[in-house]
């Protein structure tokens, strides 16, 4: 009797995409996960621990992982460190190049404390665009290149979510 299998491309912690081709079969000491990651053979004995816990034996190394799903990512805690795993062949595979965004976003959920620019302003690389405050900490968002401001979407005192567009640039 053969168990389920999975083929897909994944990347962990923003690293290179890796092709995963694995199968889960019943085994005497726990389930046997086996197959290939890229061109290398992988083999692990896996067992379910407590809530969200997966106990693995990978090549003689015993690993206790805690796994949770957050939207389109999987989060895996091993040894206190959290790894982020995402599909590299699906919905979230497309990414823009760094520094090319036609907008600046809030780096955290918080309160806009200051907006330094207005529509039409030419802003030099490194100059402040706006400031956000959360948890007693203020963060100043600066232009990552020379830009001309198209529109400002938030004012001082506004609450913004992480990733919210605050300033847009002209092409």
């Amino acid at each position: 009797m053969s168990g389920p299998s999975h083929h897909g491309k994944w990347k962990a912690d923003g690293g290179a995409a890796r092709r995963v081709d694995v199968k889960l079969d019943a085994g005497p000491a726990g389930a046997r996960l086996h197959g290939r990651v890229d061109d290398a053979h992988v083999e692990a004995t896996v067992r379910r621990g407590g809530d969200g816990e997966v106990l693995l034996d990978v090549g003689g190394r015993r690993v206790r992982a805690t796994v949770a799903r957050a939207g389109d990512r999987w989060l895996v805690a091993i040894g206190g460190r959290v790894h982020e795993v995402a599909r590299a062949d699906g919905v979230d595979a497309v990414e823009g190049g760094p520094g090319s965004d036609p907008f600046a976003v809030s780096p955290m959920t918080g309160l806009v404390t200051k907006v330094h620019v207005a529509a039409g302003a030419a802003v030099a690389k490194g100059a402040p665009l706006f400031a956000v405050e959360a948890m007693k900490m203020e963060y100043v968002v600066r232009a990552d290149r020379d830009v001309v401001v198209d529109a400002v979407k938030a004012a001082a005192g506004d609450r913004v979510a992480v990733g919210a567009v605050v300033v847009t640039f002209r092409a």
Binding site: G3, R47, V67, A70, V85
Partner: protein, 509 residues
């Protein structure tokens, strides 16, 4: 057995410290009332209390920092006492006064003591007069103008430290290395202090560096007894925020320890202190001791003291507030060692940016000698309005080495998923050879942070294997999903693939 003159206590705080105070109230048979802003309606401290009162909208100024709202909540809830925790209103004399005026027992120093010890420079002058060693520098506010700056520099030498009289947290603080930088530094420090505290006054001190941060826990009762409950080293700091704390302070000579404890006792007496407090000092490499300040509340790091002395400091705060006398000198003796780390919602890889959001899963560590004071469970929201402390992990053992081994093992099984944390960073701090050897100073993390924030590797096959196992529907007994399936489920060749299909559809977001 204490007979408390109060039965219901309002806990005027949130997060882990509110949960921790509620636990002691429960153990003492007292009723607890939590307060919450709209952002914390369903927070852990609210769920764990016997009752809860809303104090306002999310911004602290309109909720947890509103004297009026908090006192009104206490009256509404029928509380007879208020425990302020740390931060927020804990050291505000106007809050203590408002409690006293409303007939509520304030679990802390009296309003008069808080009022008389709110000006840091006045406190320095008072304790210096009582023979407590202080850092060189004028005992008056820095006057405007170059002549005053020159006079101050004469007293302190360079490097000099400019400090705000009105507050702390690193704001209004400047290190001045050279005489020619002094005027500009003073001006910018004044501006910052004025903005942050509404008080632009500064004072000048010599910079004591390198130095360790060592603090002394005190308890004082209504009958004039002041007890020293050991010391703690909190030298590992990042931007004036403590990262690791331990008790007792390692590698102190008996003479230095005696000096510290005596100075703390004298400082407490000079201020007419009451209830639990902490006297902070710097200790230089020669073992010289310098008074820093008095924290007039329970400290975040109080559990390490509790671990080595076997006392419940919150219970003693309540007993002292109830008018009970402290046990005689020598009743409490330390045993072993304890170390605490602060697990915070922040991203070390991104300049320790505060993180907020939904915690998908949270596993608190357990084990011999391990204590966790946490404020959140899996599924909770971490709101962006308050400080980033999620939980404290404290480990104790017979020796420092044993405590550190337990702490590291505990952190290795700590999982906070969904909100970024500093857990991996903390493990690297604990593994640092200088930290292991207790070569401690307040500049420990300066120049080291970069090497300690970098996560190495992507976790390799284990990470992908864990995800694959999860989405292929690994079952609880550890067998593969198809094994042992009977009845209708056996007819489905892919019984464990629900998660996999969801992922394929990319439904979330």
């Amino acid at each position: 057995m204490t007979t408390f003159p109060f039965r219901t206590v309002l806990v005027a705080n949130r997060g882990e410290i509110a949960v921790r105070v509620i636990r002691t109230l429960r153990a003492l048979g007292l009723r607890s009332v939590a307060i919450h802003s709209d952002a914390d309606r369903d927070a852990r401290h609210v769920r764990e209390a016997d009752a809860a009162e809303r104090v306002g909208p999310p911004p602290p100024r309109e909720s947890y920092l509103s004297v009026e709202a908090v006192v009104a909540a206490a009256k509404r809830a029928g509380a007879q006492a208020v425990h302020p925790g740390y931060g927020f209103l804990s050291e505000r004399h106007d809050f203590a006064k408002a409690c006293e005026d409303a007939g509520l027992v304030f679990v802390g120093p009296s309003a008069a003591v808080l009022d008389g010890s709110s000006d840091k420079l006045e406190v320095k002058a008072k304790v210096a007069a009582a023979g407590v060693p202080v850092i060189a520098g004028p005992l008056g506010a820095l006057a405007e103008g170059d002549a005053a700056l020159r006079a101050a520099a004469q007293a302190t030498g360079f490097p000099m430290l400019l400090k705000a009289i009105g507050g702390g947290g690193g704001r209004g603080l400047r290190v001045v290395a050279r005489a020619e930088d002094l005027a500009a530094a003073a001006e910018s420090a004044r501006r910052e202090a004025g903005g942050a505290f509404g008080d632009a006054r500064l004072y000048a001190e010599a910079l004591v560096r390198p130095a360790r941060h060592v603090e002394v826990q005190i308890l004082a009762d209504a009958f004039g007894a002041v007890r020293v409950v050991g010391d703690r080293d909190c030298s590992v700091q990042r931007r004036h925020q403590k990262v690791v704390e331990e008790a007792p302070a390692p590698n102190l000579s008996d003479a230095t320890r005696r000096t510290l404890h005596e100075a703390a006792r004298n400082a407490a007496r000079a201020l007419g202190y009451r209830n639990a407090g902490t006297v902070e000092f710097l200790v230089d490499p020669a073992g010289r001791v310098y008074f820093l300040e008095v924290n007039r509340r329970l400290q975040v790091e109080h559990p390490v003291t509790e671990a080595v002395f076997g006392v419940d400091l919150v219970a003693w705060q309540l007993r002292v507030a109830a008018g009970e006398a402290l046990p005689p000198e020598g009743a409490w003796t330390p045993r072993g060692h304890a170390v605490e780390v602060r697990v915070c919602a922040e991203d070390p890889a991104n300049q320790f940016m505060p993180a907020s959001g939904t915690i998908r899963r949270l596993v608190e560590p357990v084990g011999p000698g391990v204590r966790v004071d946490g404020g959140f469970v899996g599924g909770d929201e971490v709101p962006p309005f308050y400080d980033s402390l999620l939980m404290k992990v404290i480990a104790s053992g017979e020796t420092r080495e044993a405590a550190l081994a337990r702490l590291d093992a505990a952190l290795a099984t700590t999982a906070v998923l969904g909100v970024r944390t500093n857990v991996a960073f903390l493990r690297r701090v604990l593994a640092d050879p200088d930290f292991r050897a207790a070569r401690l100073s307040t500049d420990f993390l300066d120049g080291r942070v970069e090497g300690l924030v970098a996560d190495d590797g992507d976790g390799g096959d284990a990470v992908l294997a864990a995800v694959a196992a999860e989405l292929l529907g690994l079952d609880r007994r550890g067998a593969g999903p198809a094994a042992g399936a009977v009845g209708p489920a056996a007819a489905d060749p892919w019984p464990g693939l629900a998660g996999f299909r969801l992922l394929e559809e990319g439904v979330d977001r």
